[in-house]
C-alpha cells in the first residue's frame, strides 16, 4: 500500500471532505499561503480559495466561538488552533458554548465542528507550546475527543469527525506529522468510539494513545521474549471504548496506562478507574499502574524535555515493576 505522512493524511481528509460537502470550510492562523505552522494545509488555499480556507487574526476565542456559530447556523467548520496549548484562550467558547448548546437547548441544535490542534512535547518549544491537555476536553460533556496515532487512523478519524454532528477536538501529534504510514487510496472512515488493538498479547495490557503508541510498541517488541504485551490504543478518548479495555484487562490481568500528559489529573485516571470498577478487577494480578508525564511544565533543555514525559526506559521499568 502507498505510504504518506501523518500531515498528508490529515490534509487529504480535509480536502476530500471539502470536495464532498461544500458546507465544510476551514479557518485558522496562517493556514493559507503559509500552509500552517506545521505545513499541514500546504496547497489547500490554492484548491479551495480564500473563502473556504480562511486565514484568521490571532484571536483564539473568536476562532473557536465562530466555529460554534458557523456550525449551529448550518456550516461544518474545521478550525485550526496553531498549538493546542492556545485552546485555553478559547476554553469558554469550547466548553461553555460549543459543547453545551445542544443540551441547553433541549436537543434542538447541532454543532458539527472540528477543532484541530497539534499537541505534545519534543520540539524544544517549552512550557507554553508542548502540552497534552486531552483530559480537560474529556471532562466536558458534549465534546468528542480524538487522538490519532498513525497516518491511517488520522485520516479515517478526521473524516468521521468532520461528518460528526457534534463538536470534536482532534488532537494531532506534532512529532508524528512527518512519520509515514500505510494509507489506502480508496475512501474509508473509522468510527469514533472504537479502540484499536495495535498489538496483541496475553500477559499485560498497555493502554496508550497518541505518539506514545509507537514508543510503547517498540518497547513491547523489544521485550517480546519476556512478556507478551497487548497494546490498546483507544484512538478516541470520548467516546471511550470501555468494553475493549475491560476485555483486554480480563485477558491479561495486568494493566499499565501510558500517556504523555502530566500524570496528576490525566486521563490515565479515567482508564484506571474504568478497570478498577469493572469485572476486570477480579482478574487483576497486580496493581493498576500509570506512567504519565511528570507533574511539571515542559522544560526547554532537550534532555530535561525528554525526561518530562515517558521514555522507552521508563516504560520498560514500569512494565518490569508491574510484572515483578
Amino acid at each position: 500500500m502507498r505510504e504518506i505522512t501523518y500531515a498528508e493524511a490529515i490534509r487529504e481528509a480535509m480536502s476530500e471532505e471539502m470536495r464532498r460537502d461544500e458546507s465544510v470550510f476551514f479557518f485558522g492562523e496562517d493556514i493559507g499561503i503559509y500552509g500552517g505552522a506545521f505545513g499541514v494545509s500546504v496547497g489547500m488555499i490554492d484548491e479551495f480559495g480564500a473563502e473556504r480556507v480562511r486565514d484568521t487574526p490571532i484571536s483564539e476565542a473568536a476562532i473557536i466561538g465562530a466555529a460554534a456559530g458557523a456550525a449551529v447556523s448550518g456550516s461544518r467548520p474545521i478550525a485550526e488552533i496553531q498549538f493546542s496549548d492556545f485552546i485555553s484562550i478559547g476554553m469558554d467558547q469550547l466548553g461553555n458554548q460549543a459543547a453545551k448548546m445542544r443540551y441547553m437547548f433541549g436537543g434542538h441544535a447541532e454543532v458539527p465542528m472540528v477543532v484541530r490542534a497539534p499537541a505534545g512535547s519534543g520540539t524544544g518549544a517549552a512550557a507554553q507550546h508542548s502540552q497534552s491537555q486531552e483530559a480537560w476536553y474529556c471532562h466536558i460533556p458534549g465534546l468528542k475527543v480524538v487522538i490519532p496515532s498513525t497516518p491511517y487512523d488520522a485520516k479515517g478519524l478526521l473524516k468521521t469527525s468532520i461528518r460528526d454532528n457534534n463538536p470534536v477536538v482532534f488532537l494531532e501529534q506534532k512529532l508524528l506529522y512527518r512519520k509515514k504510514g500505510e494509507v489506502p487510496e480508496e475512501e474509508y472512515t473509522i468510527p469514533l468510539g472504537k479502540a484499536d488493538i495495535k498489538r496483541e498479547g496475553s500477559d499485560l495490557t498497555i493502554v496508550t494513545w497518541g505518539r506514545m503508541v509507537s514508543m510503547v510498541l517498540e518497547v513491547a517488541d523489544a521485550l517480546k521474549d519476556q512478556f507478551s504485551i497487548e497494546v490498546l490504543d483507544p484512538r478516541t478518548l470520548v467516546p471511550l471504548d470501555r468494553d475493549a479495555i475491560v476485555t483486554s484487562a480480563k485477558k491479561t490481568g495486568h494493566v499499565l496506562v501510558v500517556h504523555e500528559a502530566v500524570q496528576t489529573g490525566g486521563y490515565g485516571g479515567e482508564i484506571v478507574a474504568t478497570v478498577a470498577d469493572s469485572e476486570a478487577f477480579y482478574y487483576l494480578d497486580a496493581p493498576i499502574k500509570r506512567l504519565g508525564g511528570l507533574d511539571i511544565p515542559i522544560p526547554y533543555n532537550p534532555e530535561l524535555e525528554r525526561n518530562a514525559v515517558p521514555t522507552p526506559e521508563k516504560i520498560e521499568q514500569a512494565i518490569r515493576d508491574l510484572m515483578a
Binding site: 470550510f25 479557518f27 473563502e51 473556504r52 480562511r54 484568521t56 487574526p57 484571536s59 476565542a61 473568536a62 473557536i64 466561538g65 465562530a66 466555529a67 460554534a68 456559530g69 458557523a70 456550525a71 449551529v72 447556523s73 448550518g74 456550516s75 467548520p77 469558554d92 467558547q93 461553555n96 458554548q97 448548546m101 445542544r102 443540551y103 441547553m104 437547548f105 433541549g106 436537543g107 434542538h108 441544535a109 447541532e110 454543532v111 458539527p112 460533556p141 458534549g142 468528542k144 461528518r163 460528526d164 454532528n165 457534534n166
Partner: protein, 337 residues
C-alpha cells in the same frame, strides 16, 4: 426629560407613518408581551415559585423590538442572559417560553435550559447565553455561514455594556470587520453591568467610539425610542448586507434589579424614576396615537390581549408536566450517520 426631543419626535412620527398598521400592531404587541412576561416572571420570583435566577428586560423593550422589526424569519440573532425581550422580538411561542421558565417538558429546551438558555432555531434565534460576551463569537460565526451562502441574510448580535469589556467582543468584531460579515452588533447600554456603571467600567463618553478600533460605523441611539432604534437598525442592515458589520449602542435602562437578588445599592431612586419617565412603551403609544394610526382603545385592547396571552402561557406551562428524570441523559450528543 421624559419626552422625546422635537427632532426625535418628528422622526418618530415619520417612521411610524412609513410602517403598515399590521407591522406597528405587531411591534406594539411585542413590546407589551415583553413587559407582561417580565411582570409575571417578577411575580413568580417574588413568590419563590421559580427556581434559579432571572434577568428582566423591563424598560429596555424598544431596543429588542425596534431592532428585530427589521429582521425576517430566516435572519439570525444571538441574545444574552437578559434575553426575554430578544426572544419575543424574534418571534416565539410564548407558551413554550413560559413553560421553559417553569422548567417543564413542554418548554423550548425541555426544561433543561431555563431563562438563560432559550433558543428557537426554527426562527433564527441562536439562543440566549449565560456567559457575558459569550454570544458575540457565535453571532460572528453565524455571519460566516451567511456570508458564504450569500442569501441576503443578516445576524443581529445583542450584548450589554458590561460585555463590551470582554475579549470576545474585541476579537469578534475585528474578525467580522476584516471579513465583511453581515453582522449587526447591538450594545444595550442599560448603564450598568450588574452593579458597575458603564461610566466607571469604561473611560469613554460615547461607547460607539469603539467601532473606530475596527474601522466600522458606530452610532448611538436613544434606546427607549423604538422608532429611533428601528431606523438605526434598518440602516445597519443595508450596510451589513452590502459592506459589512455595524455597531450600534442603544442607550437604555433596566427598571428592575440586575437579577432576583439586588438591593440596588449602586444606583439612586431618583435615577430610576428619571428613566421610568422615559418608559419606551408609553412613548411608542403616544406616537401611534399622534399619527392617528391607532386609537387609544385599540391600544388598550392590545395591552389587554398581551396580558391575556401571558396568562394563557402561564396556564399552559402550569399544566405541563415536568420532564421525566429518565430524559436526563438525552441530548448531550446529536446522532451522526
Amino acid at each position: 426629560m421624559g419626552e422625546l426631543t422635537e427632532k426625535q419626535k418628528a422622526q418618530a412620527l415619520k417612521t411610524a407613518q412609513s410602517l403598515s398598521k399590521d407591522k406597528l400592531h405587531d411591534m406594539y404587541t411585542k413590546m407589551n408581551h415583553v413587559r407582561a412576561f417580565e411582570d409575571k416572571v417578577a411575580y413568580f420570583f417574588s413568590r419563590g415559585m421559580v427556581h434559579g435566577t432571572t434577568h428582566l428586560y423591563s424598560g429596555e423593550e424598544a431596543t429588542a423590538i425596534g431592532a428585530l422589526a427589521n429582521l425576517d424569519d430566516d435572519d439570525l440573532m444571538t441574545s444574552t442572559h437578559r434575553g426575554h425581550g430578544h426572544t419575543i422580538g424574534k418571534g416565539i411561542d410564548l407558551k413554550k417560553m413560559m413553560a421553559e421558565l417553569l422548567g417543564k417538558e413542554t418548554g423550548y429546551c425541555r426544561g433543561k435550559g431555563g431563562s438563560m438558555h432559550i433558543a428557537d432555531l426554527t426562527r433564527g434565534n441562536l439562543g440566549a447565553n449565560g456567559i457575558v460576551g459569550g454570544g458575540i463569537p457565535i453571532a460572528t460565526g453565524a455571519g460566516i455561514t451567511l456570508k458564504l451562502r450569500n442569501e441576503g441574510r443578516v445576524v443581529v448580535c445583542f450584548f450589554g455594556d458590561g460585555a463590551l469589556n470582554e475579549g470576545t467582543f474585541h476579537e469578534s468584531v475585528n474578525l467580522a470587520s476584516i471579513w465583511d460579515l453581515p453582522v449587526i452588533y447591538i450594545c444595550e447600554n442599560n448603564q450598568y453591568g450588574m452593579s458597575f456603571s458603564a461610566k466607571k467600567s469604561m473611560n469613554v463618553d460615547d461607547l460607539s467610539v469603539r467601532a473606530k478600533a475596527y474601522g466600522i460605523p458606530g452610532v448611538t441611539v436613544d434606546g427607549n425610542d423604538i422608532f429611533a432604534v428601528y431606523e438605526a437598525v434598518k440602516k445597519a442592515k443595508k450596510h451589513a448586507l452590502k459592506t459589512g458589520p455595524y455597531f450600534i449602542v442603544s442607550e437604555t435602562y433596566r427598571f428592575m434589579g440586575h437579577s432576583k437578588s439586588d438591593a440596588n445599592k449602586y444606583r439612586s431612586k431618583e435615577e430610576i424614576a428619571e428613566w421610568k419617565d422615559r418608559d419606551p412603551i408609553p412613548r411608542m403609544r403616544a406616537i401611534l396615537v399622534e399619527t392617528g394610526q391607532f386609537t387609544d382603545s385599540e391600544l388598550d385592547a392590545i395591552e389587554e390581549q398581551c396580558k391575556q396571552d401571558i396568562e394563557e402561557a402561564v396556564k399552559f406551562a402550569e399544566n405541563s408536566a415536568d420532564p421525566s428524570v429518565d430524559s436526563i441523559l438525552d441530548d448531550v450528543f446529536a446522532p451522526s450517520n
